[in-house]
Symmetry: C2
DNA sequence: GTCTATATGTAGATAGAC
DNA sequence: GTCTATCTACATATAGAC
């Protein structure tokens, strides 16, 4: 059973407030530990300890370890897709020209803004996505959670560059997303390589990200 | 003890040919399994089975699991750095203009060419590096194995863009490396998103990679 | 919904024969 | 250098009291 829900299939009552809080604490702890230590590196005991609940409660709210992992990834995927697609709709109804740069902003900025606003949970989620994307064992989650929206954005790009083949478009889309993820997972490296001891300025760097990807994409996609 | 070597600290004889082959089989198996399943996901028993040796031999040649992991990452890091730096030296003595694009080729192409020539082992190594770069637990390996060479390339870029601050240079360097890694770890995704059922053409895609990164870098680094 | 207790498997590491 | 056998610890999962 891939999707676990507590108790039986037909739930009788809405869960109590306390139960919801407990479940949230468990999912938040799982999100952080999976992101830090990968799937096998984070034990259910570690997760329970971080959430300050007994181990059995983790299984109760999350089901098997595998189901818990899936649920944790899926938890924010929906919200993220909605934010991206809404931004795209807003762009198209705004009357502004629909350029590759504007589309990139719709794809890349929502997650970055969540990291900047909400702090550690969404940063952990970036790490988790980076992990899921790179690990062949989780390709099915990746496909289910992110490919539909990605396909939508790639279609938009095809309209702007109708002569360009889809593989080139998909390639530069993947480059852009990976650059966004690395901006969050590798700030430590950027600081080390630039001898910059000050706290990383994500907001400032996201301007660089958009410049980099927009120029890169334009170079790859424009008719030669 | 971080670095393990078989037998005592003062080795008496060179290892036999068979012993070297055994050790290579173990390291190759470890490289593939660590790349596929991460550190905790690959057990010493799995590695031993893949290398077709008894478990105790893995400990004998690799030391503790942690030491084995370090050794597997370090094994190819040296060769890779040498290839990159040699290519840079060749460029500078060739009389050709030293551009950001040329420097990027020195950084990104050696590993890609190894993947194309040598096949699965170097592809596994790409995955391993992607994993090590993203996982906070392995930052020290990353720093030791790759930062010195990275710093060298960033210095070269500073010479071309003397007005640009180092953080911007380091940022676009990190974007470029992550795009290279994602080209190898996410071919499956590129194929899925472009409905391209044919076998991935890494060589063709690396032209796109260089175009993307060179244009992106130029856009971020040129004086405004 | 929450928690204690436990069943069952498999992990990393090493001792010691060859 | 190689291999068998085993020690000890910790993993996931669940049964059953509250």
């Amino acid at each position: 059973m891939r999707h676990h829900s507590p108790s039986t299939t037909n739930r009788q009552r809405a869960p109590s407030k306390r139960a919801v809080q407990t479940k949230t604490r468990i999912f938040d702890a799982a999100e952080q530990l999976f992101a830090e230590r990968n799937f096998e590196g984070a034990s259910l005991r570690d997760i329970a300890a971080k959430a300050d609940v007994p181990v059995a409660l983790v299984s109760f709210h999350g089901g098997s370890k595998n189901a818990l992992f899936h649920a944790v990834v899926e938890r924010r995927a929906d919200a993220l897709s909605k934010l991206r697609l809404k931004r795209l709709t807003d762009l198209k109804t705004s009357g502004k020209p629909v350029t590759a740069r504007n589309i990139l902003e719709c794809t890349l900025l929502p997650h970055l803004e969540k990291v900047i606003e909400d702090g550690p949970q969404w940063l952990a989620y970036v790490r988790l996505i980076a992990m899921v994307s790179a690990d062949p064992r989780w390709h099915d989650i990746s496909k289910a959670c992110f490919d539909p929206t990605a396909a939508h954005f790639i279609d938009e790009l095809s309209k702007i560059y109708p002569e360009t083949d889809k593989t080139a478009i998909a390639t530069s889309y993947v480059f852009s997303v990976s650059a966004m993820l690395s901006l969050c997972t590798s700030t430590w490296r950027i600081s080390a390589l630039s001898n910059d001891t000050s706290k990383a300025d994500l907001a400032g760097m996201s301007a660089n990200l958009i410049d980099f990807c927009a120029a890169g994409m334009h170079s790859v996609l424009r008719p030669k």
